[in-house]
Structures are given as C-alpha cells and as structure tokens.
C-alpha cells in the first residue's frame, strides 16, 4: 500500500493543535505583524482618500478615455474576483471530493476569497461616472414607472453573480468557523473576549446533535458554493464575451476565465501561505511543504490551461477570417501594448513551467517568487484583454491609447492595502487554520495508526 505523507507534522496532540492555532489570537502581536499592519493600513487610508478624490472630481482622473472606456478599475476588479476563486475551490469542491489535505489551508483560502471579493466589489461601484446612483443597478421597486434594470445587460448579471458569490462564500466561511470560535471562546481568560467570541460562535456547545447539523449545513453550503466557482467568473467573462468587440467576443472566455481565476487564486494562496508560515512558525506543521506542492501542481496545470486558451484565441482569430479580430490579436502580440502581452505570456505560461521540477515545487522561496509572477501575469492578462481590444477596434480613426495616470497606480496599489489590512486583521482575530477539521486528520499518514479511519 502506498504510504501517505502525514498531513500534520510534529506528532501533535489534540491539545497542541488547539494551542498552536489559537496562539496568534491569544498573544501580543509581534513587531513584524505591527509593521506589516501599519503599512497595509497606511496604504488602505491612502486608497480611501484616492477613491474620495476620484468620486468627488470625476472618473477622468484615471486613464480611461475614448476609446478605452474601461481601465484599471475593471482590470483590477476582474483580478480580485479571480483571486477569490481558489478559496471556494479549496473549501467547497475539494471538500466534496474528500480531499483531506485541504483542511489546513481551507480557512485562510476562504478568508482570502471573502476579502478579495470585498476588494473587488468596490470597483464596479466606483468606476461608474456617478457612483452615488449605483443603486440604480439593482432591481428594486421604484416610483419611476416602475423602471426596471436592463436584464439583457451582462453588467447586470455581474451585479447578481458577484453579490451572490460574496454572500454565499461569506456564509460558508462564517459557518465553518463556528466550532473554532467556540474553542477560542472556551480558552478565553478575559470576560470581554469571552463575550465577543461567544456571540460569534452562536452558542456552540459541541453536542453531537450540533455536530450533525453542522456537518449537514456545511455539506449543503459546499454544494451551493461549488457551481458558483464556475458561474461567477463565467459571468464576469460575459461582460466581455457578450459584447461585440473583437478580442472580447470570444466563446472560449468562460472556461478560460475560470481556469485563469483558479490559477491566480492558487498563486495568491501560495503567496499568502508562504508569508503566514514565516509569520507564524508554528503553522509550518500544519501548512506543510506537501500542501504547497499540491497547490503548485494545480498552478502548473491551470497555467497550461490559460496557455492553451491564449493559443486557441489566436487560432480562432485566424480561422474565423474576421479581419478585425485578426488585427486585434496581431496587435496584441506586436502592437504598442505588445510588452503587456509578453509579460502576460511569460508570467502565466512560461514561469509556472518551473514546477515540472519537484525540487522547485517544494522550494518555498522559489514558489513565492513564482506566485508573485503569476499574480502579475494575471493582472496583465486582464489588462491585455481590456485595453488592447478597446484601443484599436473597427475604425482606425478611433484608435488611441490608454492614458495611464498616477491615479491608476494609486487605485491599483491601494486595493492591496485594503486586502492586506483585512487579511492581517483576520490572522490576528480569527483561527487561521480550521481546528475542528485538522484534528480528525492528525492521524493521516502515521504508520502506528490503523488505516482507513479517515476513509
């Protein structure tokens, strides 16, 4: 029988697990954490101010123009929504497929999902010309006729898709945390702390009946989330695919976007987990090199999938015989934005090929660098799709360039400030690894235990 690698290292007892995982919540924050947090928070405040400037002065502060009417905000929106996908994939789909290795990364991956979707969700709201009227995008009863929204518009589908996704993934995440929050509550020595975590754990007492209900609801929510992993980015891709712009109007977009989303999501998980391992060394026993290696394999696979999509797009553009589409793709690879295209291809297709080598797959510094490249590449993928398609379309008289401004940079960088602020806070106040899910897999891969217990 094939020997399984243990999922948790260091011969942990059940108590050790609780102690280790609760440690970051219960101790005074380290200087490093404080430094990172203040930095992220500074960036977040800067981001808020930038948004305030943009809303008060006009979207014209950014580089969006005629003909490139969508820019940094939409690009970064798709980027962050994409990031979110790995979390749901890990927590829901892998749960349904009974992948036990997911337990130690699921919580953080899902937290990442919720925060990434929150970060992303701001963009569609602030990218409009009159953000104070954004509520018109929701079909609410009104006295204007009533005047309904346009159900034919992919942007409207987007509103539903993203808000559904945000809701379901938050609920899934919060529900999954209930037993752990109760653990934190039980360990609390401080009355206020006890109250807060008590409230958050919804009165969890750990009875068999509660466990039975919990597991059922968790399963149901996993079932609900699973199609969302596929549908959300499919619908985001419709924003492009349903339009008639060459370079956007492509049937390959839904699967291509989903693959890209998972690709970028896993890269972000790797980025965050390598950092978490450095910040909280006790987590190294739970988030092991094996975990990282598995995720690197997924990155490599999805990287090949997007690479295939890049190739397929060119093939179809040529095969279609459509001159406008042919031109758009030639222009991507050779036009004024060729640099962005080749950054995208290098980061997304070439760099992940390093993971063919086991040594590299298991090297924390290398995988960190690769994951950063993938993040960059995936941002550029959206840049390439949005900007290069728009900037040279049908009538050459319209051709133009995106007028990148300092505000574009501020918005892009600032959004990381928001994400990291929330993520760092999360690491300090919520159990970053699922205690309740790790404990049952303590025995996996240990020879003195009888096999099959977990199966």
């Amino acid at each position: 029988m094939l020997k399984r690698n243990p999922l948790v290292l260091g011969n942990k007892t059940l108590k050790d697990v609780s102690d280790d995982i609760c440690a970051p919540i219960e101790r005074i924050p380290s200087k490093e954490w404080m430094g990172l947090f203040l930095g992220a928070k500074g960036l977040f405040i800067f981001y808020i101010l930038t948004i305030a400037m943009v809303i008060s002065t006009g979207i014209g502060l950014l580089g969006v123009n005629h003909p490139v009417a969508w820019g940094t905000m939409i690009i970064t929106f798709v980027f962050w929504v994409g990031i979110g996908h790995a979390g749901t994939l890990i927590s829901a789909i892998l749960f349904l497929f009974r992948q036990k290795w997911r337990t130690s990364v699921a919580r953080s991956a899902e937290a990442m999902t919720v925060f990434a979707v929150a970060t992303a969700g701001i963009f569609p709201l602030i990218h409009t010309g009159r953000p104070w009227l954004d509520f018109w995008l929701f079909p609410y009863p009104n006295q204007r006729g009533p005047l309904w929204v346009n159900f034919r518009s992919p942007l409207l589908w987007d509103v539903f898709a993203v808000s559904t996704y945000a809701t379901v993934s938050s609920v899934f995440w919060i529900v999954g945390m209930i037993p752990d929050l109760a653990t934190v509550r039980d360990r609390a020595k401080n009355a206020i702390r006890k109250k807060i975590y008590g409230a958050l754990s919804f009165g969890w007492r750990g009875t068999a009946k509660q466990w039975s209900h919990f597991e059922m609801i968790y399963l149901v929510l996993a079932g609900l989330s699973t199609p969302l992993v596929l549908s959300v980015h499919t619908i985001v891709s419709f924003d492009f695919a349903v339009s008639q712009l060459p370079g956007w109007h492509t049937t390959i977009f839904p699967p291509y976007f989903v693959a890209g989303a998972i690709f970028s999501g896993f890269a972000m998980v790797i980025t965050l987990m390598t950092l978490v391992r450095i910040g909280f060394p006790e987590f190294k026993n739970y988030i092991t090199i094996d975990h990282m290696e598995v995720m690197n394999k997924i990155i490599m696979m999805t990287g090949l999938m997007v690479g295939y999509a890049y190739g397929a797009e060119f093939l179809i553009a040529w095969y279609s015989g459509n001159d406008y589409e042919r031109y758009v793709f030639m222009n991507r690879a050779m036009g004024p934005y060729a640099w962005s295209y080749w950054i995208m291809v290098s980061c997304n297709v070439l760099v992940p090929q390093l993971f063919w080598f086991k040594k590299i797959r298991r090297s924390i510094p290398i995988m960190f660098v690769v994951s950063i490249f993938v993040n960059i590449g995936m941002w550029f993928e959206r840049f390439v799709i949005t900007v290069t398609s728009l900037h040279r379309d049908f009538l050459p008289s319209n051709w133009g360039q995106y007028a990148w401004s300092i505000y574009d940079t501020a918005i892009l960088v600032g959004s990381f400030g928001m994400f990291f602020t929330i993520f760092l806070l999360y690491l300090r106040v919520l159990p970053a690894i699922s205690i309740a899910e790790v404990k049952p897999v303590l025995n996996v891969g240990k020879e003195d235990e009888h096999h099959g217990k977990g199966h």
Partner: protein, 1029 residues
C-alpha cells in the same frame, strides 16, 4: 443687469449728446419729442415715480415708504428681466418664420452677415429670449447659401468672451513708449482728447478690408471732415486683386464659378479652405461634382497640404518657388493648341518640359494641360493666398490671368462682375503708412480691427514708426497686441451688437442686423467716427446729423442705395423686405471676356529655387489670421487636414524627417533670414521634401486666456510681406512638444470605411468597389410605423471643411476640454470628420468622412446598458437618457463606431460667465459622469413636428434639418424620414447604388448611409484579392 450698469446707462442718458445708450431705444427718440426728453430724466421709462412726482409738482419727493418698497421690488424684477432679455428695440425683422413677438421658448432667426476680412457670408442668427445662440448660413443668400464657415459660427462665442473689453481704456506709457498702465476712461474724456488730437491734422486710419457700404461712407465722410488718409491692409492679403488691376484694369477679386468648370487647376489657392469666399467656393465646387457623370476635375499643385489639395483628384506636391514654373509650364504646353503671340511663345519656351525639373511626371503634367485645352471656357486656373506670396507673386497672378484669358475662361468661369471689389488690402498701403509715420506726417492714427503688432513682421518697422505718432486710437473689442500700444482704446461693439450692411459681390448687398443690445459700455467704430466728427463739427452734414449708426445706415439706404436696388418700391417696404430676406440685388452669372492688358512675355522669375528648404506659411481653416484665436471652439476644432488641435507646428515631409532624424513632436528651430522660431515637427505625408510649412495665427500673446501659450507666431518669419519661398534652415533642439491629434491612425488598414472609386470605375459600375455582405437576422427587428429617421452622407461632395462640427458644437452645447484632455482622448465632439490618407505615403491623397452616432436599428449600445439609459425610439432614434445614465461606459465599449462621448469631469461647471449665454436652451447641459452623443438633433425634430402639427399639415421632407446638415455648404448631409418614400434620404437608401453602410457586416444596421467618394483621375482601381480586406 447690475446696478452699476444701470448707473452708467442713466449717466449716459443724461449726457447732452446722447448716443450710445439710446442706440437701443426707439422711435420717440427719432422724433425727439418733448415727452422723450422728459423721459430721459428718469432711469425707468415706465416708472410710476415720474407720474406721481408730476402730480405733486415736485421732482424729488412724494413717494411713500410702502410705495417705495413696492417700486423697489418691481424695479428689481424689471432690471433682472432686462438683464435676461437683451433685445434690440430698433426694428430688426426676423426671418419670415417667426411669431409676432418674442415668445419664451421659441427661437427667432434673424438675417445678418459676417465678414472676416476676406470672406463674406450671409447669415441666419438664431435668437432665444434675446440672446443669439446659433449662427448658420442664410440659405437664400446668393453666395454662401447654407454654408457658414467655422469662424463665422464660432464668432458667436466671441460675443460672450470674458476677455472682451467692457468699456473704453487709456494706456499710459513710459519714456520708451511701452505700456506702463492701462486705465479705464469715460467716453467723454476719450472723445474730448481724441477730438483735440484730430483737430491738429495729420489723421490716418488703418483698417482691414471694409465690405460695408455704410462703413465706407462713414469713413469717407470722416476723411472729408478731417482730411484723413485711409490705409487698408490685411495680414492674409495676396496680390490677386492688384494683378487683376494690372491685367484687366479692374481691381476686383473675381467670382470663380467652380460649379461651371469642368477642369479646375489650383496653384496653391486653397479656395476650399482658406482663400476667398470659401463657403461659396465649397458650394459651387460640390455643385460641379454632384452629377457624377459630368463631374469636374480638380488638379492641385500644393506646397502645403491644403484642404483643396486634400480634395484634389490629382494632387502634385511642389515647393513655393515652383508655382510660377507650373503656370508658365502649362502655358508652354498649350502653346499651339490655343493662339498666343510670338512674344509669349518665346517667353514660355524655356519652360517647355519643366515637369521633369519640378519632379512631376511629364505625362501627368501634359494631361493637365490637355484637359485645360479640352475644357476651354469651362476651366479655371487659380493661384492665391499667402502660400503664393513669394517674390514672384505678381508675375504668378498675371500669368494665371493670362492663362484664364487664353483659355476663354474669363467672363465664363471667372466672372469679374460677380466679384468682390472691396478686397483692396495690400502691403503697399501699410508700407506707405509706415513711411508716413516715420516722416512724422501722422499725428493721429486710428486703427480699426487690425492688429499689425501681432501679424506684421518686425522688419517692416511698424512698432518703431508708431512711436512717432503722438496719438494712437484703437477700435476693437480686445486688449490685444496692438491695443496695448495705443493711447486710447475706443472699445468697439461685437459684430452681433452692431448694425451694418455689406457688399460681398458687386451688386449683391447684405444686411447686418444686430442681435443683441450692447452688453457693455462699448460703442461701434462707426459711431465713434460720427461722434468725433460731430464734436469737431467737420465733415458732411450726414455724419454730424445722426445720433446712432443705425440712423446713418438707414439714411444712406434711403437716400442713396435704395435707388440702385429697390426697383421703385417704397422705402419702408423695401427696407422691411431687405431685413427679412437678408440681401438685395442679383449676382451676375456671366460676364464678357475682358481684354488682357498684361505683359506675359516680360514676366521673369526672380525667386530662386536653390534653397535646400523653402518656407511656406499658411493660414488654417479654423484659426485663419489669428483674430479669433481666443475662441475655444476653433482651437479645439481639429485642423482639417492634420487633425491636430491646440497648436501650430512645422510640417515636413516623411523623407525630410527621416533624413534629419526628426520624429513627430521634436522641436526644431527654424531660421528665416535673421528670425528664429522654435516649433514642434509634424510629419506630413504628401508634402514636398523641400518645404517647411507653418501655420500662422497662433502664438497670440494678448488674445485672451484661451489663446495664451497656444503655438508660436509664424508671422514673425515673414519678410516684408513675403510668406512663401523664403529659404529656411532648421535644427533639432532636443526638446519635444506633444502634438495632440483627434485621429488615432491615418490609414484605413484596408478596411471598407471610405469607399473610393475613380471615374473609370464608376463608368463600369455605379457601385464599384463596394463589397456588400449578406446579413440575416433571427428576429424581425423594430417596427417603425410613424417616422423613421435616417441620414445620407455623400462622401463625394464632402470636402472636410468642418463647418458641421462647429455647428454641432454650438447647437448641442458640447464642451471644449483643452489640449491636455484631448491628448488623453477626451474630446467631446458629437460629429467628427475622419481623414484617411490613401495611396503612396510620400504622395498621399486624402479622403474625408463625417462620423456621428449611426442610430443603429440593432444598436449594440442599447443591449448592454444595465440601467436602460440608452433606448430605441419608435422613430428609430437611439436615445441617450442623461438623467438615467450612471456612467458604466459599457455602451461606448460596445459601439463599433466609437461615437459616444463621456463627461469625465464636470465640464458644465467650468463655463465661465457670460459664456453660458451661448448655450442652446433647447439642449440639456450634461452633468459629470454621463455618456452623451449625437441625437440627430432631436430638439429640431420635435420642433419641426410641432410646427407641422400646429399648422395642421404633414411633415415635409426638409422641414427638419439637423445642425450639421444646416451648416453644410455642399449639401453633403441629408436628413429625413425613411418612411416617406419621396424623401431624399429614402431615395438614397433605396435606389442609390453608391450608398453603403459603414461596417455593414457587423449588422448593427445603422440609419446612416454613406455614398462612395469618387476621384476623377481617369485611373482604374486595381482589383484586390479576396473581396474587401
């Protein structure tokens, strides 16, 4: 109106010579009744104060507190009303489609006219609640018709310019006679001082061309009174009129009948863009090409890339020194085919076979000559404009005149009798004036609407000469370059505040009605002259007699002019008819051939062609001589050929740029003689390799806030009135100035955008070169049961003059955003003219395409808007609902034509007062963050429909004209109802083989169809493989 203004007004009213402010009052005043005199004592004519005072026999008391309060309330209300409604009270008669009085919300159209020193236009000016808001051509006017040049249309904005002077000024000078301080003065003070000075003798007047008989009469009377001299000079003056005088004994700018010509040869005469009556020329040129079976051929020898060159069927690039060679070469080619004297034969013999030297294919050159011979009496040869102001300018013109004479064109296509005799400006005159000033013979110089400090090159020494003039009086409405050097600025009215008349072609008189009472404490130049003559008690009776210029004009017409043109009608009805129609008189259509008195055999070329690079200065269509440089509409209007905005630049050819390693925007320093000027480079396809072309009219230092820092003054490169052919050197400075264009790319990339066919192609098949697509649909589409609006655009008659763009900007309140934002692609024009270069890049030819919202039946924008802010109307319009728009901009992304414009910032808030008065109240001013685009002038559609409904008749084709259509001099744009079988558009859509949809295969089903552009060059377009690209 503010209280201070009221104060000024009442002060004025109490003055003895009561002129300026009463200018706007009316009939009682003419009779000067005692009641009227009395009424002058009170500020408000209708004030009950006066009545009550009378009752009590006292002038001052008798007003109870409550009455006072009541009256105060009423007067505040009245003054604010008066502030809103600035309607001239003297009888101006609106165009015949108007209600009896001004109705709020209903616009009136008044006839008027416009003259920019070169071109005269008959206008219709739209007035809303007493504010002029839109200018378009008077369709009945025998010259320009529909067409109104961009400058004429944009002059509207000049009325509301914040930089316009609001009262008279006086400049104080230091010892060096440079401006120390500008102070306001009262008219009394100015008048007293000026009259004192005038009485010392030595009076001279400097002005531009004057086309108004009344102004000429006033100046004449003034000259008689003060024994003054009048000098006429224009910065853009050429030698056409002088050469006419020397060739035919008649100083006239002839009327060129481009509509009657089959063969037109232009040697650097940009008659479609900047030379002569351009709107008239455009109209006639298009008329000569509308019938595609018998369309004229335009051959252009072009040393800049002019609009005329861009419209040429065959364009040759030359350098300015070759202009004379071209004409002599043409004469030598036709010697033997038409009879010429032996002397001429000998004279032109050296020019035989000149084509090779000019770098032109000899065969093509011979064909031009052959075509001229073939079309004797039906051809035109023209040269003119400052592009021809080389040393040989006179010789060139004489040779051109000779060519026209021997071809039998004179009297047929070159009609002196229909020409303009008022374009008498010349450099000789200003040189005379400078000589007189230097000699100390000029004691008082009155400058009227002429800006020599800006537009006269320094070598002529005007500035130094002016220091020797003890009193300089300037009459204009800006504190411009010349104004700051004048002792007194007798601030002139804006043209829209002034009465006048015009004679733009012999025997055709136009009226110039004011549209608004003077907004500020200004006075027309004519009234200033009248006042000074009155105060000095000199001159004929009529200049002293009248208190307003209006009275003077009317009197002149009553006593002198009417006799010529009234045809025995009684004066009142004649006058009313005149005001209503906007013109009287008939345009001579033909004349008899005049005897050519010039001497061609002695014409010698003095201009050397040896210089490595030659300078060619040229005016642009939008900026012209720079007078209107402070008008944002004009600065933001893309240059008709280069499509660059907000700048001038040095154009060089592609080869020259490559040889000198110049890239677009590299700043080069030009040296002409001793003068240097640094300008960014523009690489211009189709330019002669030895030409550096620079636009004049930029680099205004005192034009106002808009023009400040825009471009460089290229007039400084001129030498003694020569603008072209001067040897120029340049070197790279290493700096770079970004040139901003509204067009991203100049090539059509082989796509079916502007379909071009040659006359030979068209002979074979009328729909030549159009690749049609089979399209089909799975749904039935929209049903249009009432009207279905559509537009047809004939690219064959579109000359790219851009009048439609300014018309649209004025009609639809589209914002001007400035250079920085145009650079970022944020210009707001709802209609634009795309210009593509075709053919060989070195010798590129150009095609134009007006593009606005196509109002697609399957509009891609409509489906993607999440909030239904853009919807399809039952009449086929694609409507944008500004109030509903949240600004996702998805519609713009999904628009294949990219005609939508987004309000990136709150542009409306930046409109400086009183510029807001130029806004059209019928069109919403868009807020920040909403998308906007062409509406097919939906407000005009509504107006037309309402009018038909009130008159209880069905809507007729042509009742509704969009702003672009109304302004188009060539009737390129036709708007109408596709459901009306007999409408012009429906006929084009159904039956015109040249009609095609832009991006037809994309199946948006646009409501606009274009018609093939035809190049009449006797070539055959080679077949491309595999249909269209």
């Amino acid at each position: 109106m503010s209280n201070t203004e009221n104060k000024i007004q009442s002060d004025n009213e109490n003055r003895k010579i009561e002129r300026d402010s009463t200018y706007w009052r009316s009939f009682e005043e003419l009779n000067n009744t005692p009641e009227f005199q009395k009424s002058l004592q009170t500020e408000f004519m209708s004030s009950p104060l006066r009545e009550e005072s009378k009752d009590e026999g006292s002038e001052t008391d008798g007003v109870a507190r409550r009455d006072f309060l009541k009256l105060m309330g009423a007067s505040i209300a009245l003054t604010s009303a008066a502030g809103c409604i600035r309607r001239p009270v003297q009888k101006i008669v609106p165009y015949n489609k108007q209600p009896e009085e001004v109705t709020v919300g209903v616009s009136n159209w008044y006839t008027s006219s416009y003259f920019d020193g070169q071109e005269g236009l008959g206008l219709l000016v739209k007035s809303r609640e007493g504010r002029p808001v839109h200018i378009s051509g008077n369709p009945k006017f025998p010259l320009n018709g529909n067409g109104a040049s961009v400058k004429a249309q944009a002059s509207l904005l000049g009325l509301y310019e914040p930089n316009r002077l609001q009262k008279p000024f006086r400049n104080l000078f230091n010892e060096k006679r440079t401006n120390k301080e500008t102070v306001g003065v009262s008219w009394e003070e100015l008048d007293t001082k000026v009259v004192e000075s005038l009485q010392k003798g030595g009076v001279a007047i400097l002005s531009g061309n004057i086309s108004s008989p009344s102004t000429k009469a006033v100046i004449g009377d003034f000259k008689a009174g003060f024994n003054a001299d009048h000098y006429v000079w224009e910065p853009l003056a050429d030698d056409v009129v002088e050469a006419q005088a020397s060739s035919y004994g008649e100083a006239v700018m002839p009327g060129f009948r481009y509509d009657k010509a089959q063969m037109i040869v232009s040697i650097d005469a940009d008659f479609l863009g900047t030379w002569g009556p351009t709107m008239t020329n455009n109209k006639r040129f298009a008329d000569g090409r509308r019938n595609i079976d018998k369309m004229s051929r335009l051959v252009s020898f072009d040393s800049t890339y002019s609009l005329t060159g861009a419209n040429a069927d065959i364009r040759f690039r030359i350098k300015p020194s070759q202009q004379f060679d071209v004409v002599m070469g043409l004469i030598s080619e036709i010697v033997g085919k038409v009879s010429v004297s032996d002397a001429v034969k000998t004279a032109v013999a050296p020019y035989n076979g000149i084509a090779d030297k000019l770098g032109i294919s000899a065969e093509a050159f011979k064909k031009v000559a052959a075509d001229l011979v073939k079309n004797q009496g039906e051809s035109i040869v023209v040269a003119g404009g400052i592009q021809t102001k080389t040393k040989d300018s006179m010789a060139l013109q004489v040779a051109v005149n000779y060519l026209n004479s021997i071809l039998g064109n004179d009297g047929k296509t070159v009609v002196a009798g229909a020409g303009n005799k008022n374009l008498t400006a010349s450099f000789a005159q200003i040189k005379n004036l400078i000589a007189k000033m230097n000699a100390g013979d000029v004691k008082t110089l009155i400058i009227y609407r002429s800006n020599p400090f800006y537009s006269l090159s320094a070598d002529l020494g005007f500035a130094e000469a002016l220091k020797k003039v003890p009193t300089v009086v300037y009459s204009n409405d800006k504190m411009d370059e010349t104004a700051v050097n004048a002792h007194y600025v007798a601030t002139d009215n804006h043209a829209l505040e002034t009465w006048g008349d015009s004679e733009f072609a012999t025997g055709v008189y136009g009226i110039h009605q004011p549209l608004i009472r003077t907004m500020y404490d200004t006075r027309s130049f004519q009234l200033s002259l009248m006042t000074w003559a009155y105060m000095a008690k000199v001159g004929p009776k009529r200049i002293q007699e009248f208190e307003t210029y209006y009275d003077y004009v009317r009197n002149l017409w009553k006593t002198e002019m009417a006799a010529k043109v009234a045809g025995g009608k009684d004066f009142e009805s004649f006058w009313n008819g005149f005001l209503q129609e906007g013109f009287v008189g008939e345009l001579a259509t033909t004349g008899s051939a005049r005897t050519f008195k010039g001497d061609v055999s002695s014409l010698k070329k003095s201009q050397s062609s040896d210089a490595t690079f030659e300078l060619a200065l040229y005016p642009t269509v939008n900026i012209g001589d720079g007078t209107l440089a402070n008008i944002g509409w004009l600065q933001e209007l893309p240059d008709v050929v280069t499509k660059i905005v907000w700048d001038n630049y040095a154009c060089v050819s592609i080869k020259t740029a490559e040889a000198n390693k110049l890239r677009e925007g590299d700043v080069i320093e030009l040296t002409v003689g001793g003068n240097k000027l640094s300008l960014p480079t523009h690489i211009q396809p189709g330019l002669h390799d030895q030409v550096v072309a620079v636009a004049v009219g930029y680099g205004r230092t005192h034009a106002g806030d808009v023009a400040k820092g825009i471009g460089q003054n290229a007039f400084t490169l001129a030498q003694g009135g020569l603008y072209a052919g001067l040897p120029v050197e340049f070197k790279k400075t290493g700096q770079k100035i970004e040139l901003v264009t509204t067009q991203g790319h100049d090539s059509m990339e082989g796509r079916q955008i502007v379909v071009t066919a040659t006359n030979k192609d068209i002979q074979k098949s009328k729909d030549a070169n159009i690749h049609r697509h089979h399209t089909w649909n799975i749904w039935s589409g929209h049903q249009y049961n009432g009207h279905k609006w559509g537009m047809a655009i004939d690219l064959n008659t579109c000359t790219g003059c851009s009048a439609c763009m300014t018309a649209c900007q004025s009609e639809n309140n589209t914002a001007v955003v400035g250079k920085k934002y145009v650079m970022q692609g944020r210009e707001m024009h709802w209609i634009r003219i795309d210009r593509y270069y075709t053919g060989d890049v070195e010798n590129a030819s150009a095609v134009f395409q007006p593009l606005m919202c196509q109002h697609c039946d399957n509009a891609p924008c409509e489906t993607v808007c999440p909030v239904v802010a853009t919807v399809h109307s039952s009449e086929g319009l694609n409507e944008q609902i500004y109030n509903r728009c949240v600004g996702t901009r998805y519609c713009s992304n999904n628009c294949p034509y990219k005609v939508r414009r987004f309000n990136w910032f709150n542009y409306a808030k930046l409109i400086e007062k009183p510029m807001h008065m130029a806004l059209n109240p019928e069109v919403l001013v868009r807020a920040r963050g909403v998308m906007e685009k062409c509406t097919f002038c939906v407000q005009r559609i509504k107006e037309g429909k309402n009018k038909a409904k009130i008159e209880e008749r069905p809507l007729k084709d042509g009742d509704i004209k969009t702003a672009c259509e109304a302004a188009c001099p060539t009737q390129t744009i036709v708007f109408g109802d596709l459901n009306d079988e007999n409408s012009r558009v429906a006929k084009v859509f159904k039956a015109e083989p040249r009609a095609y949809e832009l991006l037809e295969e994309w199946y948006a089903k646009p409501s606009v169809r274009y018609q093939t552009k035809i190049k009449n060059n006797d070539q055959v377009t080679p077949k491309k493989g595999g249909g269209h690209a």
